[in-house]
Every structure is written in structure tokens, then in C-alpha cells.
Subunit: 358 residues, 3 copies
């Protein structure tokens, strides 16, 4: 049995298989219409995310299955103080597979280690959101016809945007990928991401100038600058309009560039761009549904294997360090051990949230 916590849990070959399955679902939906008959997906959303939740639900229904769950913590037993681990154990009695969204980094891993059914991470705080990356990947494949030799511009909030971090990780594994990081100084790609790219020899450039970067891009991945990421509302107000994509800006782009966005957007892409055939972001939402279908099929199939889920990494150590990430699940989950693994360059990282510890 297997869960999906981080997009890097999937090999390049597995990603290729998932996209192949998704393309087959698109071509022959009737073949899959009863594939999950009698199966139940639990959508455990400890914070609201309509689009992601509805995408999972639509995916399960198109596979012929059932859906149950909750859409916010106020409706859940979490309000009575139940731990993520207990929720995972109990829901394993009621469903065949879990899609879980939680505001805390690492919550999905805690659930996976306690559930007796597969867990799909549908977003754990600012940590991972692998099914968004699956949507991105199928969109790239369908829009560009390939994964390799692409120049990918990432624009907006590169500091806090977990979707761009995951996409960088996933696309770095393909040959000939180049990145252009486009952001205000305050929201630059974090050091640890750039250092990892330097170590792997992945080429990238950084700029604050969207217009200047536009003409070289095969993919432009726009992101939302989220109000909730800013301690100072004034800083948000000053920056939020800095990177708004308009038809004028699109004029400088390649004729076959594809514009992606994880949605929801606020105003970072003008509605006037929607009519441009290069605007792929609504197709991307549709692709997300197909990849979630492929993923549910894969994990339910692997769940037939009686072997238990993989546990923590073999080189993990309990205690001896301290995780200081205030958003980590280890700060709130009852009786959850602090566990660490040796990261690159000798650093020690929290096994739950992947943050450097001391």
C-alpha cells in the first residue's frame, strides 16, 4: 500500500504512467466509469479549498465511486480536539482512500502513517500539494507535447508558493529544463531551493521584470500573491498589482507559450487574457481532475498489496533536535515524536515538515 505526500514520492516513470492513464481516461471515459464501483473516497478538508475538493469528488464520481467527508474543520471532530492520527485511523473504517487538506505542514504524513488505507495529500499547510503538480504536469504534456527542453517562467510569489516549489522539483528531473524566476525581491525563490538547483546543475535565472523575461518562455506559470502570507497589509497592497498579466504583456510572448495558474486567481491575470488560446489555466483545472482519477486508480490498485505502508525513512532519528517551524504538525499533534533526517550538506531536517532543525 502507498500514499502520496510529496510529488517526489513518484518516480519519473510513475509520472509518465499517470499521465498516460489520464490521457487514456480522456480518450475513453466509458472504460473507467465503473472502475471504483463500491469504493469510497473520504475528502477530509480541515480548511476549505473548494476547487481541490470538488476536483477530487468529480474524479471519484467519474470512476463510479462514492464520496464522504467534510469541507472545513468546524464540521469535524478536530473541533473536539481529536488528533490527526486518530482521525486517520477512524476514517480508515469508513472509506477506501483519503484525500486530506490540512493547515499544518506534515499533517498528511501523520495521517498516512496511521491510516490503513492510502492517503493523498491535498495540501498540508505551506509544505506540499502534489496533486496540483500532477495537474500542472498533464497540462504541460498536453499543451507542449513533451516534458523536456522547456523554458519555464515562474511568476509572482515564489517565496511561499508551494506549488512552484513542487513544480521546480518535478520538472528539474527532465532533460533540458530551464527556469526563469520572476518575482519582487521580497518574494524571491528561497535559498534552499536555489542551492539545491545549483547542486544539481539545473539552469535558472532570476529577475523582477516580467516583460523582459516574456519572450524566452515556453511556459509561464503565474501565481497568486496571497494576502494571508503578509504580516504587513500595506506591503501586500503595494505588491499585489506588480505582476498582473495583461493582453499587452502577452503580445511579447511566443505564439505557443502556455499560461498556467493553480487558481483561484484574484486579479493577477486580467480576465481579458482568458480569450487568448495560450491561456491554459482553465484546461489545467480540467486536467487536475483527470490526474486525480489516474492517481486514485493507481493507489487503490497498489492497496491490494497486503504490505503495510512505508514508514519513516530508515535514517530517521527520534529526538536530539528541535523543530522550530510553528506551522509544523509536531507543534500540535498529541504524543507525536519529534523525528529528524539528515538533509543535504549535513543539515538536519524535521521528518514531518522538511524544515531545517537545530
Amino acid at each position: 500500500m502507498r500514499s502520496l505526500i510529496d510529488i517526489l514520492d513518484l518516480s519519473v516513470q510513475e509520472l509518465d504512467e499517470l499521465t498516460d492513464t489520464a490521457l487514456d481516461i480522456i480518450a475513453r471515459p466509458e472504460k473507467y466509469a465503473h472502475a471504483c464501483e463500491g469504493k469510497k473516497l473520504a475528502t477530509l478538508f480541515f480548511e476549505p479549498s473548494t476547487r481541490t475538493r470538488l476536483s477530487f469528488e468529480a474524479a471519484m464520481y467519474e470512476l463510479g465511486g462514492h464520496v464522504l467527508g467534510f469541507s472545513e474543520a468546524a464540521s469535524s471532530s478536530a473541533a473536539k480536539g481529536e488528533s490527526v492520527a486518530d482521525t486517520a485511523k477512524i476514517v480508515s473504517c469508513y472509506a477506501d482512500i483519503i484525500a486530506m487538506r490540512h493547515p499544518r505542514d506534515g499533517a498528511a504524513l501523520v495521517a498516512a502513517l496511521n491510516a490503513s488505507i492510502p492517503v493523498i495529500n491535498a495540501g498540508d499547510g505551506g509544505h506540499c500539494h502534489p496533486t496540483q503538480t500532477l495537474a500542472d504536469l498533464l497540462t504541460i504534456r498536453r499543451e507542449k507535447g513533451r516534458f523536456d527542453h522547456l523554458t519555464i517562467g515562474l511568476c509572482g510569489d515564489l517565496k511561499y508558493g508551494r506549488t512552484v516549489h513542487s513544480l521546480v522539483g518535478a520538472m528539474s528531473r527532465y532533460e533540458g529544463t530551464r527556469f526563469v524566476f520572476i518575482s519582487p525581491e521580497e518574494l524571491r525563490m528561497p535559498d534552499y531551493v536555489r542551492q539545491a538547483m545549483d547542486r544539481q546543475g539545473i539552469p535558472y535565472t532570476e529577475t523582477a521584470d516580467l516583460d523582459g523575461a516574456m519572450s524566452q518562455l515556453d511556459i509561464l506559470y503565474m501565481t497568486r500573491i496571497q494576502r494571508e502570507r503578509f504580516a504587513d497589509p500595506a506591503q501586500y497592497e503595494r505588491l499585489k498589482n506588480s505582476y498582473v498579466l495583461t493582453p499587452e504583456k502577452m503580445a511579447a510572448a511566443k505564439k505557443d507559450m502556455a499560461v498556467l495558474h493553480p487558481l483561484p486567481r484574484v486579479n493577477e491575470i486580467s480576465v481579458a487574457v482568458d480569450a487568448d488560446p495560450r491561456a491554459a489555466y482553465f484546461r489545467q483545472a480540467l486536467n487536475g481532475k483527470y490526474m486525480r482519477m489516474a492517481l486514485i486508480l493507481k493507489l487503490l490498485d497498489e492497496a491490494k498489496d497486503p504490505a503495510p505502508q512505508a514508514g519513516l525513512p530508515a535514517n530517521a532519528v527520534t529526538g536530539g533536535h528541535q523543530c522550530h517551524n510553528r506551522r509544523c504538525i509536531c507543534q500540535t499533534e498529541q504524543e507525536l515524536a519529534q523525528v529528524f533526517y539528515p538533509g543535504e550538506g549535513g543539515a538536519v531536517r524535521c521528518v514531518w515538515c522538511d524544515t531545517a532543525a537545530d
Copy 2:
């Protein structure tokens, strides 16, 4: 493809067809039990309305389909600032038909113009609520056996009650309809409704005296006086008991009068009236489910037509006027143009909320 925003979008002939379908569903439910197999209804309720939402969900399940959605804005992406237009575009990836409730006048029309699937308006602010009117119509047909030559009393809040405005519009198209408007002075039927009736030559009388009007009615349509419609709570407290239907009042009514109410009621109909065979309001709730089934069938059938949805009226003009309705969707939706159409008597009205503009 077609959506349903306003009850007047349906011709008299179409209403007859829908009631015929509903009656056939009632007579032969097994014929329809798999009619929507594999289809998905999205219930997008930006404000709670349990009865309406459950009625749609029951309707879709009795047609063999699936349901997904949300029941209040806090669980939706609207909390992150997503526009109605974007929500409609994205949900079009996940469902086959939308039923949408929104606190803003005109929101359903914005959704319909952006969705690639049919949209049913399940209530847009104080503007329209056409499926309530469908429930009313089937109830009139089943209780009275006909739509023509009926004297219809409307009682309670006639100023803000959108369901009575819609019912007046729908029933005005049948021969021999007479209306009796029964309300306190503060909650009289608005001028524009009465002026439209005057122009069309529809007979009506106005009174503040429910007892005096009772004996002449074939239909008595009670409405709730809603606390949230009053700026001054004291005024609400003074008026709320003015028009309470009791067994004593019912004694003066025709033996075959039918009492309708859109529900939920608070105390405007005494519970003691429920046992009266003329109390049709719970049967009305059941009829609502059957009419929603008929409507879903009709719109999904019409959606097979590849022609896109009708856009704005041909005589609509953008700009040049100003909508001052603070509840109109044009006040909040991003990049939504102010659009107007020429109303009767030379007035200009907002295309989204139908309010007179200047």
C-alpha cells in the same frame, strides 16, 4: 444549451411541458430512476438554503445522478476572492449542470454567461428564484387542476418577497387570473409590479385585511416576514404577527382553497393549520423536487445542442449609465462591465439585477 435565470425565460408552453414531465415522474418514477446516470449536479450555495439545496440533491439522486458542491461561502473559494465567473468556468470542468444560490442579484446570470454547462438559478439575492415558482405552479396545477381563472391571494411581505413577484409574473400569463395583494402598508407590492400589471390589464386589488379577503380566494399564498429585511428591529416585532394564518381565519375560506407557502415558515401559519386538508405547503415542497427533476432533465437534454448559451440581450448597451443597487453582482464581481437594457416606458435597467439605473 440553456440556463434558467428567471421564470419568464420559460414560455407558457414550456411550463406546461415541465409540469407534464413532473406529473409523469410522479406516476412512473422507475422510468426516470437512471435518466441521469453518470451525470453530476454541482450545488453551489454561496449562502445556506437547506430546503432548496436538499430538494435539488434529492431530485438528482432520484434521476440516478451524482451531486457535489458546497453549502455556504465559508467552504468555497469565494473566501479567497474568486470571482463568480471563474467559479462557473472551473465547476464546468467538474459537473454537468449547476444549481447556484448567491446573495447578490444577478450572480446567476454572470455564472451562466461563463459556464459551459447549464446553470439553474436557485436564488440570486432578492432578484429571482425560478425553481420556487416551478414548485408553486405544479402545486397550483395539482391542487386546482388548472392554471386559468383563479383568484390568487398573496399575503405578507409583498415588497421584498421575490417568490411572490415571480409568481405574479408567471400566473399573469394565464387567462382569468385575478390577484389580491394582502399586506401592511410598509410591505406593499412595489410600484413597478403594479404598473406592469396595469399596462397588461391584469386585475388586482390591494388590502391590509386578510380576514376580509379570505372568502374570495382560490389560492392563498402566505409569505414570511423576514427579520433581515428590516433596518429597524422594532418595526419587525410590531409587524411579524399581523398576518398569521389560524384555523379561525381558515373558517372563512372556500372549501377547496389551497394554502401555499415557500417555507421555511416561522410563525406566519399556525401549526394547527397543518392538519387542514387545504394546507398544501408541505405537498408544495414535494412538488418542488419533482419540478426540479423535470427541469434538470430538460436542461441536460438541451445541453446536447452544441450551440452556445444565449448571451446578453441584443439591445444591451455597455456603460453610459450607473447601477446603484448595492446588492447587484456588478458591485463586487471583478472586471464585470456595467451593462443596461431599455426597459418599458423608456427606463434603463441593469442587465444583471433588472434594477432601474440612471
Copy 3:
């Protein structure tokens, strides 16, 4: 037609039949996979209870049926002032069976008397929660192989814990049952429970010492000490850790003792106990699903009988007394009569909440 409000509505023979059905479902799930095809369960949760709600939903899906409803009052028409009686009448138009959770004692009985479909009480305030008791009973049967001659320890909040009161009532009907009530002085089993046991000659002892009681128990039923039961938070803080089950305490228990807990737990059972094979509380959650399946089957089957639901007890009298229970549904439901029945020893009790009246 029948509803289930209180576990004592079911005879010992019926409980045996329900557990037999549940065991057959466990053995041959495929036999039941389409038993409720085309049927709809309404889950009306006026207050959140994830575990109970998901258990009902999973039960209905595993029977091949549909589910609709709401998970908290904010999403329901109750926010508009609708009575429980009206909600029950309307939902009877939309569903085939109701599972209802409500914060007020007696709400489920009001619903049952107004619905035209069976109502399952999924918890009415501090009054009853019979499907939790069904889960408890199947767990006892599966863990111990019998219902008779068991010594049952109940530990924690015995004053407010409705699940322990129901379990006492249900198990008191089997031969050879002995109880050990383990609680702090402030949370002792109420007088009326002990007096009823004295009258029936059911043996029990009381103690504040969990360790001392441990070795004699066949069943240890742990309960959560709920913060919301305490007027004084300091008292809660002082007591909450008094009765925490640990591996150390388990060492003194019989080798085949079974630990039950209605869940969710906070910290009253250490996570370290989960690995002990005697920890039956997660199996108990699974058993709850199977008993709810058996119950839904039974009540839908009995609903085929055209006889109306049983009304109030034949010896009930309206008025003449006053219910002072501030949590009783009679305090808030519109036009609900105060009705009483003669209790044991000449006392008069409210028919809705079973509280002594004067």
C-alpha cells in the same frame, strides 16, 4: 413504521437480531451491496459530529444508497428559525430515512412524531445516542463472544456521559452483568441511574480508583471528560488527567479485557495503549458502521408497513406540570406542548427529555 430514539426502544431480542445482521454483513458484504439502491439517507446534523456522520454515510453507501444533508446548523434552515417539526416534514419529501443530531434533548422525538419516514436519533443533546450503544454492543459481542456474565467498568465522566447511561440501561437487561463505576466525586453516576439499578437489583460498586478496580474487569469503557461540561475551566484542568489509561495501568488488567471508548479521545487513553491487542476502540468505530447498516435495513424494512409511527405514550398528559430542563427541545420548539408521563416512584417526567418535572 418505526424510529429509534432511545436504545431501550429495542427489545433484547431485537438487539440480538441486529447484531446477527451486522455479523452477517461482515461475513458477506456483497449480499448487502445493493440492498438500499435508490434509497436516500438524510443526515441532519444540527451540530457537528464527524465520526457519527461519516459512519452513517459509509453505512448507507455500503448498502448502495444515497446520502444528503447538512453537517452543522449554520448550513441549515434552522438559522432562519425553522422548527424541528417542519424540518422533519420537509425532509420526509426528500429522503427515505433520517439520521439526526441535535443539541437539544428530545429533538429526535419531535422529529419522529412529525416525519413520515423513520428517524434515527444520532444524539439529542445530553439525552440519548442509541447508535453509539449499538456500536458498543456489537463490540462486546465480538470481543467477548457473549452479552451475559460480564463485569463492566465505566470510567471518567459518568455524570454527563450519555453513552455510559445508555450502555448501563442496555447491559442491565442481560443476566449476570456487574458494573464498576470509576469516577471522581464530581462526576459520579447520577442518583436516578443508581436508584433504578437498586430497584432492579443490578449489582454495582463505585470507586474513584481506576488502578484498584482494573483486575476484576472484563470490559473497561473509558470516556472523555469534556471541557464543555464544566462551568469552571480550572476544575476541568484539575480533573482531566485523573483517569488517563496507560500501558502501566493495563498491566494489572485481565489478559482478555477489552478497552472501549466512544471516541473521539483527547488524552484519556495514551496513544501507547493503541498497540495493545485489548484496545478495541478503533474496532468499535468499525462496528458502529455495521450496526448502523443493520439498523437502516431494519427500519426501512419496517417502514413498508403502512401503519403510522407510534405516537406519545398512552399514559402521557399534556400540561399541568413544567419542564425546567433548559436544554429540552420544549424550550425552543414553536407551539410544542409540554407533555409528561408518570415515572417510577410517582415522579412526573417530561416526555421529550425524560427529566423530572414539577
